[in-house]
C-alpha cells in the first residue's frame, strides 16, 4: 500500500493525529529549563515563580 503524504500537513509540520493537550499538576519539569530574554541572557524558568505566583503564557508564535 502506498501512503501519500498530505502536503499541507508537511508544510505546516502538523500532527498526523489529534491528541489532547495535558497540563502538569506541578511545574517541576519546567523549573530547571533555561530560556533567553530579549537581550539573549539566560533565565531559569523556576526563578520566575520563586517570589510569587506567575502566569506563564506560551504563545503559538510571535506572528
Amino acid at each position: 500500500m502506498v501512503v501519500v503524504e498530505n502536503p499541507v500537513r508537511s508544510l505546516l509540520g502538523a500532527a498526523p493525529k489529534k491528541r489532547f493537550a495535558r497540563a502538569p499538576a506541578r511545574a517541576d519539569d519546567l523549573a530547571d529549563l533555561v530560556l533567553k530574554d530579549l537581550d539573549g541572557g539566560d533565565v531559569r524558568l523556576g526563578d520566575t515563580w520563586r517570589d510569587g505566583p506567575v502566569a506563564l503564557v506560551w504563545l503559538r508564535h510571535y506572528g
Binding site: 493537550a21 497540563a23 499538576a25 530560556l35 520566575t48 504563545l59 508564535h61
Partner: protein, 139 residues
C-alpha cells in the same frame, strides 16, 4: 487573553506575567513593539522544550485551518485589530497558560486544543484569587 489589555489586571492581582514564544530574541523584540507591551517579561524558547514540558501540543491541519478555527480567528482579529503576521517558528505549535505558585503547584492551566483556543484572563484571575492573597506587584 489580550496581553496589552489584560496585563495591568493580572499585575494588580499580584500575579507576575511572563510570556514565552518560539523564535529568536529579535522576533520577541518585534512582537513586543508591535503589541505595545514594553516592560513585559518576554522569553524565547527556540527548542520548544518548555512547550513540551507544559503539555502544549502540536496541532493537526484541521486544528489549524478548520472552518471553526478560521471563523473564530477572524472574529478575534477584527475585535482586537491586531493583524496576523508571518509565522516565526513551528507553524503547528499551540500554546497555553499555566498559573504557577511559589511551591511549584499549578492551580490553573489552559492549553490550546486548536489555533483559536485562548485562555480567559477572568479564569486566570479567579484561580489566583482561590490560591490565596498576594501583595500587589508589578511584572
Amino acid at each position: 487573553m489580550q496581553l496589552h489589555r489584560d496585563r495591568d489586571r493580572i499585575a494588580a492581582a499580584g500575579v507576575r506575567l511572563v510570556v514565552i514564544g518560539q523564535g529568536t530574541p529579535d522576533h520577541a523584540k518585534e512582537f513586543q513593539a508591535r503589541n505595545h507591551v514594553e516592560g513585559l517579561t518576554i522569553l524565547v524558547d527556540e527548542s520548544r522544550a518548555s512547550y513540551d514540558a507544559a503539555g502544549a501540543k502540536v496541532a493537526t491541519v484541521t486544528e489549524l485551518l478548520g472552518p471553526r478555527v478560521v471563523a473564530r480567528g477572524t472574529v478575534s482579529g477584527l475585535r482586537t485589530r491586531l493583524p496576523q503576521t508571518a509565522t516565526k517558528g513551528h507553524a503547528a505549535q499551540l500554546g497555553g497558560v499555566l498559573l504557577v505558585l511559589p511551591d511549584g503547584s499549578v492551580p490553573y492551566a489552559h492549553l490550546a486544543e486548536d489555533a483559536s483556543d485562548n485562555a480567559s484572563t477572568d479564569e486566570i484571575l479567579a484561580a489566583a484569587e482561590r490560591a490565596g492573597p498576594e501583595p500587589t506587584r508589578s511584572g
